[in-house]
Symmetry: C2
Subunit: 233 residues, 2 copies
């Protein structure tokens, strides 16, 4: 990989407390590669050969069973994915494909595990990262179990507005509606109907542009919950 890409990787919370030699050794064995959109990266059931880090672009994590497919999560810069499989030397539980053209760092799983043995700072950083991922899934799981589709969509819109809304509070949907639907656990048709349901609550949709004109009303419907919707914690 190119030396010019190292600093941004080094700055990741996961790597910042790592010793210089460990980091150098790890990067020595890694690949930084750009993939086109819609490319299958890994499949559930395969053994975990690499730890992935999203440097640029966006990766969809999805799974199949009982003849169905569902989006499990979206990985954005700068995060890792499938860390747990690598640490346990197990098979992937999810598949992954790029959404857009994406720059990814591939770190051989064996090297990650070796670095873990030799570098206690890295081990502690891994614990924090893992615990954070764990809590992330628990939140998704809670949301799915405790909210209706419309509530999930409403909360998701409120979150997007907070994270990336402009001065007016308008924002663009980060994925196409088909993907958003799958992420929220519904069909594209149902997502479309859910947007309609939310129209009386000040949700204006135009293609991928969204504007919330009555956040108060939407919040009453959505009942946002710190223990589900906050990125921190």
């Amino acid at each position: 990989m190119r030396p010019s890409d190292l600093p941004q990787v080094r700055a990741l919370r996961l790597f910042e407390s790592m010793s210089d030699p460990s980091f150098a050794a790890l990067m020595q064995a890694s690949y930084l590669q750009t993939f086109p959109a819609q490319l299958d990266l890994i499949h559930e059931g395969e053994s975990a050969d690499f730890l992935y880090v999203v440097i640029e672009g966006c990766v969809e994590l999805y799974a199949r069973s009982n003849g169905r497919e569902a989006t499990m999560a979206m990985a954005h810069p700068v995060t890792t994915f499938i860390l747990a499989a690598v640490l346990r030397d197990a098979v992937y539980l999810m598949s992954a494909r790029t959404c857009t053209r994406s720059k990814l760092l591939l770190i051989p799983a064996q090297n990650v595990r070796e670095a873990l043995e030799g570098d206690d700072g890295f081990a502690r950083a891994i614990i924090q990262e893992l615990a954070g991922c764990y809590r992330g899934v628990v939140k998704e799981y809670k949301s799915l179990k405790l909210r209706t589709s419309v509530e999930q969509l409403a909360n998701r819109l409120l979150r997007y507005r907070k994270e990336r809304g402009d001065a007016d509070g308008a924002f663009e949907l980060p994925y196409d509606k088909k993907t958003l639907a799958s992420l929220l656990g519904m069909t594209p048709e149902n997502l479309s109907r859910s947007f309609n349901t939310l129209k009386p609550y000040g949700v204006e949709v135009n293609g991928s542009q969204v504007r919330l004109t009555d956040v108060k009303a939407l919040e009453i419907l959505a009942k946002p919950n710190t223990l589900i919707d906050e990125r921190a914690n």
Copy 2:
């Protein structure tokens, strides 16, 4: 806590690679206590003061939002629960109550974090434990997103039969049906109807006694999936 209880705690994978002094210090500060059934232990949103270990009995982890309540998981001997909150020094994402009279070990969160700093063996054991918990939730999440209620129940029954079925393959449901329903993400009424739906597939239910007389047929319906239903991985 009583010295006679130490060995079984020490034998936990989480603690076995810990140094003797670290373990002694940790236990020194801990409490081993027996709680009656249906007792609330912790509430979501509270700061994580203790790491819990189920020594005997059974603990239900549940969550509330949008005016609803759902069972998230059941903790059995011998497992920890709410480890991630303790490690991140964050608030609990789930509440917990005992199902039956239960013997629990309470380890002060601060001591866990200190032990982590000083004991690398413990840090590595934590990584494995956390990664395992993480993969556990992902499996639950997949199951909920990819399966219908009936399929979930069918797979759950197949799992119980494998785990605790007697010579005939008969077994007892581990929780009352209301709890089982909530765990599977459905109402008690719907669980009852799902059992009826499964009758033609050889599922005989008598109170809490279950016998599967046609595992092949049930498997065709359930489509069990190694990447969801296997305890290992």
